[in-house]
Symmetry: D2
């Protein structure tokens, strides 16, 4: 994969500040483990309140973290005055989200002035290995001078 | 749209029982408002802990409810001994999830022995109108004799 | 569905002119059967050169027509100086494309200044009925002052 | 990526034979350049009859080749008596399909008894470099004892 250069030298602060303002990240315990221009790694613990009928984390919650990985990977490359908005994503569920901890890796596939295309992968983390449980591809949009964009 | 016939006369009890076992549905306050063979309507209140940086409900949480609408629409047509598993879904986000209450309508497009294709729409409910905020298409799979499927 | 108003009163001529310039439409025999603001119907005959290993029309060719239905439904609502570009689409294949003739119906779900969201359905046409064989949801983008956009 | 082992030692012959029976592959000039278990590379020349209004290859034709790359990557890992059927795919269009020659690389992300998840990338090939123009993720299904599956 190509490595990207950030337009905004303060992209780390900008990502951290936006992340902090997302109540859902706190609620789900999602944290930024690593951030580079166009690449991000998030972690999330297992939490019983977010499970489906078999006690595994619900696909929609896994998707919430994957969308966040795509969104902030894209946001890291955007200019300082941009907001980021999710246009669409597709998630493929590959295995049950069984595990104590999850890792999500998102990266930019193609940055653009208006639209940025990303993908992300979700892994259940075991004692000595990671298991791929879901993948996402998504389209993110940079918006300017506009309040109230969706996340 | 064609109307479907349920293979399992007890599909209402079966959907209700599976829904009850999903902790995430309780946590998000998602409830079944209406259920017919191959069709379902869910409701969800606004809740601050599940919002993004602008105070609107996060796209991943909207997706959780949409996936649930697709999943239970499909499940309602499956035989009594089937479990339902989400294979994939795509969400298009059309507008910010701004509102006090949300409605999700899912329906089966094409039922099948193994795979069922569904779509679902999310609406923000206002005093006198509904506003379309997101759509999903998804593939659901019937699994038999298998513990621990994903949701 | 809501009915839309065309910004450009000459949308019919504009769609027809763009359609004429697409060599692939001629090659596949795709024609516009009906056009309203935000809605279109296309037809395509069966043709042996575009089939897969069982003699049915290939999913990618069905997708070509579905993409065209989404693209021109979106284009019909765009201003006179816009070009249309496909950002992404997802196709669900529901049944083999078995038949002598196919119909594709596309419509705008949500128009926008920059992005327009559409869906489309493909049907195999029989003597007395139509059979749904595939569905698409897609994102289309209006571009201005820019040569060489993708289709 | 993990490397996979083919269940059927004759997977090369089986892929080649199925490919030969697809009229659309001949029509579009698509050929297999490389095949390993779970991985494939296809090539396609530019051809004017398959272009959109700007003279570039139509997104649906690029999708036809991407679907073929996903389908045969999946098929290479299936048992000898399986047929392969496309359940769904999503294509992100990243750049105009401008070029004299195109390469498509597909690979299996997760094989399964019934469903196999793949991704594929399309590149326009220049004199000294490749340019990424589109990506796909798709779900493929193994079917047994069933005539007339879709491609």
């Amino acid at each position: 994969m190509p490595s990207f250069e950030a337009k905004d030298p303060n992209f780390r602060e900008r990502v951290a500040a936006s992340f902090q303002r997302q109540a859902v990240m706190h609620t789900l315990g999602i944290e930024v483990a690593r951030l580079e221009p166009g690449e991000i790694e998030l972690t999330m613990p297992y939490a019983r309140p977010f499970t489906q009928q078999h006690g595994f984390v619900h696909a929609g919650i896994i998707t919430t973290a994957l969308d966040s990985a795509c969104g902030y990977a894209a946001f890291s490359l955007m200019p300082a005055d941009a907001e980021v908005l999710t246009v669409e994503f597709k998630t493929n569920l590959l295995a049950a989200a069984k595990g104590e901890r999850f890792v999500f890796r998102g990266r930019v596939i193609k940055p653009g002035r208006t639209l940025t295309i990303c993908d992300a992968s979700a892994f259940a983390v075991g004692a000595s290995s990671e298991r791929l449980i879901a993948t996402m591809t998504g389209t993110l949009m940079a918006v300017f001078d506009r309040a109230g964009v969706s996340g």
